[in-house]
Protein backbone atom coordinates (compact mmCIF):
# COMPACT_ATOMS: atom_id res chain seq x y z
CA UNK A 1 0.00 0.00 0.00
CA UNK A 2 1.19 3.43 -0.71
CA UNK A 3 1.70 5.22 2.53
CA UNK A 4 1.48 8.77 1.31
CA UNK A 5 -1.77 8.30 -0.57
CA UNK A 6 -3.56 6.71 2.35
CA UNK A 7 -2.06 8.91 5.01
CA UNK A 8 -3.37 12.01 3.28
CA UNK A 9 -6.98 11.24 4.13
CA UNK A 10 -6.39 10.36 7.77
CA UNK A 11 -5.73 12.30 10.88
CA UNK A 12 -5.37 11.84 14.59
CA UNK A 13 -8.14 14.27 15.38
CA UNK A 14 -10.78 12.73 13.12
CA UNK A 15 -11.10 9.12 14.20
CA UNK A 16 -13.31 6.86 12.21
CA UNK A 17 -16.09 4.82 13.71
CA UNK A 18 -13.99 1.67 13.69
CA UNK A 19 -11.27 3.45 15.61
CA UNK A 20 -13.71 4.70 18.24
CA UNK A 21 -15.19 1.22 18.64
CA UNK A 22 -11.71 -0.26 18.86
CA UNK A 23 -10.72 2.26 21.49
CA UNK A 24 -13.79 1.67 23.65
CA UNK A 25 -13.53 -2.11 23.48
CA UNK A 26 -9.80 -1.84 24.12
CA UNK A 27 -10.35 0.20 27.28
CA UNK A 28 -12.80 -2.41 28.50
CA UNK A 29 -10.42 -5.23 27.65
CA UNK A 30 -7.51 -3.55 29.38
CA UNK A 31 -9.59 -2.83 32.46
CA UNK A 32 -10.71 -6.43 32.68
CA UNK A 33 -7.09 -7.58 32.28
CA UNK A 34 -5.92 -5.25 35.05
CA UNK A 35 -8.67 -6.53 37.36
CA UNK A 36 -7.64 -10.10 36.44
CA UNK A 37 -4.09 -9.57 37.65
CA UNK A 38 -4.96 -7.49 40.71
CA UNK A 39 -8.10 -8.96 42.26
CA UNK A 40 -7.74 -10.91 45.47
CA UNK A 41 -10.59 -13.30 44.73
CA UNK A 42 -9.23 -16.14 42.66
CA UNK A 43 -12.48 -17.18 40.98
CA UNK A 44 -13.24 -13.58 40.08
CA UNK A 45 -9.86 -13.43 38.35
CA UNK A 46 -10.91 -16.29 36.07
CA UNK A 47 -14.25 -14.63 35.34
CA UNK A 48 -12.63 -11.29 34.52
CA UNK A 49 -10.28 -13.19 32.26
CA UNK A 50 -13.36 -14.23 30.28
CA UNK A 51 -14.21 -10.55 29.79
CA UNK A 52 -10.66 -9.75 28.69
CA UNK A 53 -10.47 -12.63 26.21
CA UNK A 54 -13.92 -11.83 24.84
CA UNK A 55 -12.82 -8.24 24.35
CA UNK A 56 -9.82 -9.44 22.39
CA UNK A 57 -12.20 -11.50 20.24
CA UNK A 58 -14.23 -8.37 19.50
CA UNK A 59 -11.00 -6.60 18.54
CA UNK A 60 -10.29 -9.40 16.08
CA UNK A 61 -13.73 -8.86 14.57
CA UNK A 62 -13.02 -5.15 14.24
CA UNK A 63 -9.76 -6.04 12.48
CA UNK A 64 -11.82 -8.16 10.03
CA UNK A 65 -10.29 -11.42 11.25
CA UNK A 66 -13.57 -13.17 11.85
CA UNK A 67 -12.31 -16.74 11.80
CA UNK A 68 -9.67 -15.95 14.42
CA UNK A 69 -12.34 -14.25 16.50
CA UNK A 70 -14.57 -17.31 16.59
CA UNK A 71 -11.61 -19.58 17.28
CA UNK A 72 -10.71 -17.27 20.13
CA UNK A 73 -14.21 -17.52 21.57
CA UNK A 74 -14.27 -21.30 21.20
CA UNK A 75 -10.78 -22.11 22.48
CA UNK A 76 -10.06 -19.45 25.05
CA UNK A 77 -13.43 -18.51 26.46
CA UNK A 78 -14.86 -21.97 25.96
CA UNK A 79 -12.14 -24.29 27.07
CA UNK A 80 -9.10 -22.56 28.55
CA UNK A 81 -11.07 -20.61 31.13
CA UNK A 82 -13.08 -23.71 32.01
CA UNK A 83 -9.79 -25.58 32.49
CA UNK A 84 -8.52 -22.77 34.70
CA UNK A 85 -11.69 -22.87 36.78
CA UNK A 86 -11.33 -26.63 37.15
CA UNK A 87 -7.74 -26.10 38.21
CA UNK A 88 -8.81 -23.56 40.81
CA UNK A 89 -11.40 -25.95 42.18
CA UNK A 90 -9.07 -28.96 42.22
CA UNK A 91 -6.39 -27.05 44.12
CA UNK A 92 -9.01 -26.02 46.68
CA UNK A 93 -8.69 -22.34 45.99
CA UNK A 94 -10.35 -20.31 48.72
CA UNK A 95 -13.69 -18.77 47.87
CA UNK A 96 -13.69 -15.15 48.86
CA UNK A 97 -10.82 -12.81 49.49
CA UNK A 98 -7.41 -14.37 49.96
CA UNK A 99 -5.01 -11.82 51.38
CA UNK A 100 -1.89 -13.60 50.11
CA UNK A 101 -2.77 -13.64 46.42
CA UNK A 102 0.14 -11.35 45.64
CA UNK A 103 3.67 -12.26 46.57
CA UNK A 104 6.09 -9.98 48.28
CA UNK A 105 7.67 -8.64 45.12
CA UNK A 106 4.61 -6.94 43.71
CA UNK A 107 6.13 -3.47 43.87
CA UNK A 108 9.19 -4.65 41.96
CA UNK A 109 6.80 -6.28 39.48
CA UNK A 110 4.86 -3.05 39.15
CA UNK A 111 8.03 -1.10 38.45
CA UNK A 112 9.16 -3.63 35.84
CA UNK A 113 5.76 -3.68 34.14
CA UNK A 114 5.44 0.10 34.04
CA UNK A 115 8.97 0.50 32.69
CA UNK A 116 8.33 -2.10 30.00
CA UNK A 117 5.00 -0.48 29.11
CA UNK A 118 6.55 2.98 28.83
CA UNK A 119 9.46 1.78 26.70
CA UNK A 120 7.32 -0.35 24.39
CA UNK A 121 4.59 2.26 23.95
CA UNK A 122 7.20 4.86 23.09
CA UNK A 123 8.88 2.60 20.55
CA UNK A 124 5.62 1.43 18.96
CA UNK A 125 4.07 4.87 18.69
CA UNK A 126 7.28 6.29 17.32
CA UNK A 127 7.55 3.52 14.74
CA UNK A 128 3.94 3.38 13.51
CA UNK A 129 2.64 6.91 13.93
CA UNK A 130 2.22 7.37 10.18
CA UNK A 131 0.81 3.96 9.37
CA UNK A 132 -2.79 3.21 8.61
CA UNK A 133 -4.58 -0.06 8.06
CA UNK A 134 -6.60 -0.12 4.86
CA UNK A 135 -9.79 -2.12 5.24
CA UNK A 136 -10.76 -1.81 1.60
CA UNK A 137 -10.53 -4.64 -0.86
CA UNK A 138 -11.04 -8.30 -0.15
CA UNK A 139 -11.68 -9.39 3.42
CA UNK A 140 -8.47 -10.69 4.93
CA UNK A 141 -9.67 -12.97 7.63
CA UNK A 142 -12.81 -14.69 6.41
CA UNK A 143 -13.08 -18.40 6.99
CA UNK A 144 -12.58 -19.05 3.29
CA UNK A 145 -9.37 -17.03 3.04
CA UNK A 146 -7.96 -18.44 6.27
CA UNK A 147 -8.77 -22.02 5.34
CA UNK A 148 -7.40 -21.63 1.86
CA UNK A 149 -4.06 -20.28 3.02
CA UNK A 150 -3.90 -22.69 5.95
CA UNK A 151 -4.32 -25.76 3.79
CA UNK A 152 -2.34 -24.51 0.82
CA UNK A 153 0.76 -23.05 2.39
CA UNK A 154 0.70 -24.10 6.02
CA UNK A 155 -0.24 -27.78 5.81
CA UNK A 156 3.01 -29.18 7.20
CA UNK A 157 3.15 -26.91 10.28
CA UNK A 158 -0.54 -27.60 10.80
CA UNK A 159 0.00 -31.36 10.90
CA UNK A 160 3.07 -31.04 13.11
CA UNK A 161 1.04 -28.89 15.46
CA UNK A 162 -1.71 -31.48 15.65
CA UNK A 163 0.86 -34.08 16.68
CA UNK A 164 2.20 -31.66 19.29
CA UNK A 165 -1.29 -31.04 20.65
CA UNK A 166 -1.97 -34.77 20.87
CA UNK A 167 1.33 -35.37 22.67
CA UNK A 168 0.63 -32.52 25.08
CA UNK A 169 -2.84 -33.78 25.94
CA UNK A 170 -1.65 -37.36 26.42
CA UNK A 171 1.13 -35.98 28.60
CA UNK A 172 -1.36 -33.98 30.64
CA UNK A 173 -3.49 -37.07 31.24
CA UNK A 174 -0.46 -39.15 32.19
CA UNK A 175 0.82 -36.47 34.54
CA UNK A 176 -2.42 -36.02 36.36
CA UNK A 177 -3.89 -39.46 36.64
CA UNK A 178 -3.73 -40.88 40.10
CA UNK A 179 -1.64 -43.99 40.53
CA UNK A 180 -2.34 -46.82 42.96
CA UNK A 181 -2.29 -46.21 46.67
CA UNK A 182 1.12 -45.51 48.09
CA UNK A 183 2.97 -45.64 44.80
CA UNK A 184 5.56 -43.16 43.84
CA UNK A 185 4.57 -40.78 41.09
CA UNK A 186 7.45 -42.02 38.95
CA UNK A 187 6.07 -45.56 38.94
CA UNK A 188 2.62 -44.25 38.15
CA UNK A 189 4.13 -42.28 35.32
CA UNK A 190 5.96 -45.27 33.95
CA UNK A 191 3.05 -47.61 33.52
CA UNK A 192 0.61 -44.79 33.06
CA UNK A 193 2.11 -44.15 29.67
CA UNK A 194 1.36 -47.70 28.62
CA UNK A 195 -2.20 -47.80 29.89
CA UNK A 196 -3.35 -44.29 29.27
CA UNK A 197 -5.98 -45.10 26.74
CA UNK A 198 -7.43 -48.04 28.65
CA UNK A 199 -7.55 -46.37 32.02
CA UNK A 200 -10.97 -45.93 33.64
CA UNK A 201 -12.17 -42.37 33.68
CA UNK A 202 -12.06 -41.90 37.40
CA UNK A 203 -9.59 -39.10 37.87
CA UNK A 204 -10.96 -35.60 37.79
CA UNK A 205 -8.55 -34.75 35.03
CA UNK A 206 -10.04 -37.25 32.65
CA UNK A 207 -13.57 -36.29 33.44
CA UNK A 208 -12.93 -32.77 32.39
CA UNK A 209 -11.42 -33.75 29.08
Amino acid sequence: MTLAATAAGHGFLSPTGVEIAFLLVGIGTLGAAVITVTTRQLVHAALWLVVALGGVAVEYLLLTAEFIAWVQVLIYVGSVVVLLLFGLMLTKAPIGRSPDADSGNRWAALVVALAAAAALVWVVVDAFRATWIDFGGAVQGSAEASGRSLFQYWVLPFEALSVLLLAALVGAIVLSRRGGEGRAPAAALKDGAARVFGAPATTPREEQR
Binding site: L63, A113, I133
Partner: protein, 122 residues
Protein backbone atom coordinates in the same frame (compact mmCIF):
# COMPACT_ATOMS: atom_id res chain seq x y z
CA UNK B 1 -7.64 2.47 11.22
CA UNK B 2 -4.42 3.76 12.66
CA UNK B 3 -1.98 0.91 13.30
CA UNK B 4 -0.99 2.41 16.63
CA UNK B 5 -4.31 1.48 18.23
CA UNK B 6 -3.90 -2.33 18.10
CA UNK B 7 -0.15 -2.09 18.68
CA UNK B 8 -0.49 0.02 21.82
CA UNK B 9 -3.34 -2.14 23.11
CA UNK B 10 -1.18 -5.23 22.60
CA UNK B 11 1.72 -3.59 24.45
CA UNK B 12 -0.49 -2.68 27.40
CA UNK B 13 -2.04 -6.14 27.56
CA UNK B 14 1.41 -7.69 27.46
CA UNK B 15 2.66 -5.54 30.30
CA UNK B 16 -0.44 -6.34 32.35
CA UNK B 17 0.35 -10.01 31.89
CA UNK B 18 3.98 -9.34 32.77
CA UNK B 19 2.92 -7.72 36.03
CA UNK B 20 0.68 -10.69 36.77
CA UNK B 21 3.41 -13.23 36.14
CA UNK B 22 5.82 -11.40 38.40
CA UNK B 23 3.44 -10.42 41.18
CA UNK B 24 1.06 -13.34 41.59
CA UNK B 25 1.64 -16.12 44.08
CA UNK B 26 -0.85 -18.80 43.05
CA UNK B 27 0.42 -20.83 40.10
CA UNK B 28 -2.95 -20.83 38.33
CA UNK B 29 -3.10 -17.04 38.44
CA UNK B 30 0.37 -17.01 36.89
CA UNK B 31 -0.99 -19.21 34.09
CA UNK B 32 -3.85 -16.74 33.56
CA UNK B 33 -1.33 -13.94 33.20
CA UNK B 34 0.60 -15.99 30.65
CA UNK B 35 -2.63 -16.29 28.68
CA UNK B 36 -2.94 -12.52 28.67
CA UNK B 37 0.58 -12.18 27.29
CA UNK B 38 -0.14 -14.73 24.55
CA UNK B 39 -3.29 -12.85 23.60
CA UNK B 40 -1.32 -9.65 23.27
CA UNK B 41 1.02 -11.38 20.84
CA UNK B 42 -1.95 -12.73 18.87
CA UNK B 43 -3.45 -9.26 18.60
CA UNK B 44 -0.18 -7.97 17.18
CA UNK B 45 -0.01 -10.81 14.67
CA UNK B 46 -3.55 -10.19 13.43
CA UNK B 47 -3.09 -6.44 13.20
CA UNK B 48 0.12 -6.69 11.21
CA UNK B 49 -1.35 -9.36 8.97
CA UNK B 50 -4.26 -7.08 8.10
CA UNK B 51 -1.91 -4.14 7.61
CA UNK B 52 0.57 -5.93 5.35
CA UNK B 53 -2.09 -7.84 3.36
CA UNK B 54 0.13 -10.88 3.27
CA UNK B 55 -0.70 -13.28 0.48
CA UNK B 56 0.34 -16.24 2.62
CA UNK B 57 -1.79 -15.02 5.55
CA UNK B 58 1.19 -15.73 7.75
CA UNK B 59 -0.08 -13.65 10.64
CA UNK B 60 -3.44 -15.34 10.88
CA UNK B 61 -1.98 -18.83 10.41
CA UNK B 62 0.57 -18.14 13.14
CA UNK B 63 -2.21 -16.81 15.36
CA UNK B 64 -4.06 -20.10 15.00
CA UNK B 65 -0.83 -21.97 15.79
CA UNK B 66 -0.26 -19.81 18.86
CA UNK B 67 -3.79 -20.49 20.09
CA UNK B 68 -3.22 -24.24 19.70
CA UNK B 69 0.13 -24.06 21.49
CA UNK B 70 -1.49 -22.02 24.26
CA UNK B 71 -4.13 -24.72 24.67
CA UNK B 72 -1.42 -27.38 24.93
CA UNK B 73 0.53 -25.21 27.35
CA UNK B 74 -2.45 -24.65 29.63
CA UNK B 75 -3.17 -28.38 29.68
CA UNK B 76 0.36 -29.35 30.61
CA UNK B 77 0.69 -26.45 33.02
CA UNK B 78 -2.47 -27.30 34.89
CA UNK B 79 -1.47 -30.97 35.06
CA UNK B 80 1.87 -29.98 36.61
CA UNK B 81 0.17 -27.61 39.02
CA UNK B 82 -2.27 -30.32 40.10
CA UNK B 83 0.61 -32.77 40.58
CA UNK B 84 2.52 -30.25 42.68
CA UNK B 85 -0.59 -29.53 44.72
CA UNK B 86 -1.18 -33.23 45.28
CA UNK B 87 2.39 -33.80 46.45
CA UNK B 88 2.88 -30.61 48.44
CA UNK B 89 -0.55 -29.44 49.50
CA UNK B 90 0.08 -25.99 48.09
CA UNK B 91 0.33 -24.35 44.72
CA UNK B 92 2.08 -21.17 45.84
CA UNK B 93 5.08 -20.76 43.63
CA UNK B 94 7.20 -18.88 46.14
CA UNK B 95 7.00 -21.78 48.58
CA UNK B 96 8.43 -24.27 46.09
CA UNK B 97 12.06 -23.59 46.73
CA UNK B 98 13.60 -27.01 47.24
CA UNK B 99 15.95 -26.42 44.36
CA UNK B 100 16.89 -22.91 45.40
CA UNK B 101 20.49 -22.06 46.09
CA UNK B 102 20.99 -20.57 49.49
CA UNK B 103 23.56 -17.80 49.85
CA UNK B 104 25.26 -19.62 52.73
CA UNK B 105 25.73 -22.80 50.74
CA UNK B 106 23.31 -25.06 52.54
CA UNK B 107 20.61 -26.84 50.62
CA UNK B 108 17.41 -28.65 51.38
CA UNK B 109 18.87 -32.00 52.38
CA UNK B 110 21.65 -30.46 54.48
CA UNK B 111 19.62 -28.27 56.75
CA UNK B 112 15.88 -28.54 56.23
CA UNK B 113 14.29 -25.17 55.77
CA UNK B 114 11.05 -24.27 57.55
CA UNK B 115 9.22 -24.26 54.23
CA UNK B 116 10.10 -27.83 53.33
CA UNK B 117 9.24 -29.03 56.81
CA UNK B 118 5.82 -27.47 56.56
CA UNK B 119 5.27 -28.97 53.16
CA UNK B 120 6.30 -32.44 54.30
CA UNK B 121 3.58 -32.47 56.93
CA UNK B 122 0.96 -31.03 54.64
Amino acid sequence: MHLAYPAVLAVLLFCTGLYGVLARRNAILVLMSVELMLNAVNLNLVAFDVWLRDTLHAGQALTLFTIAIAAAEIGIGLAIVLLVYRNRGSSDIDRLRDLAERPDGTDADGTPQPDTKAEATA
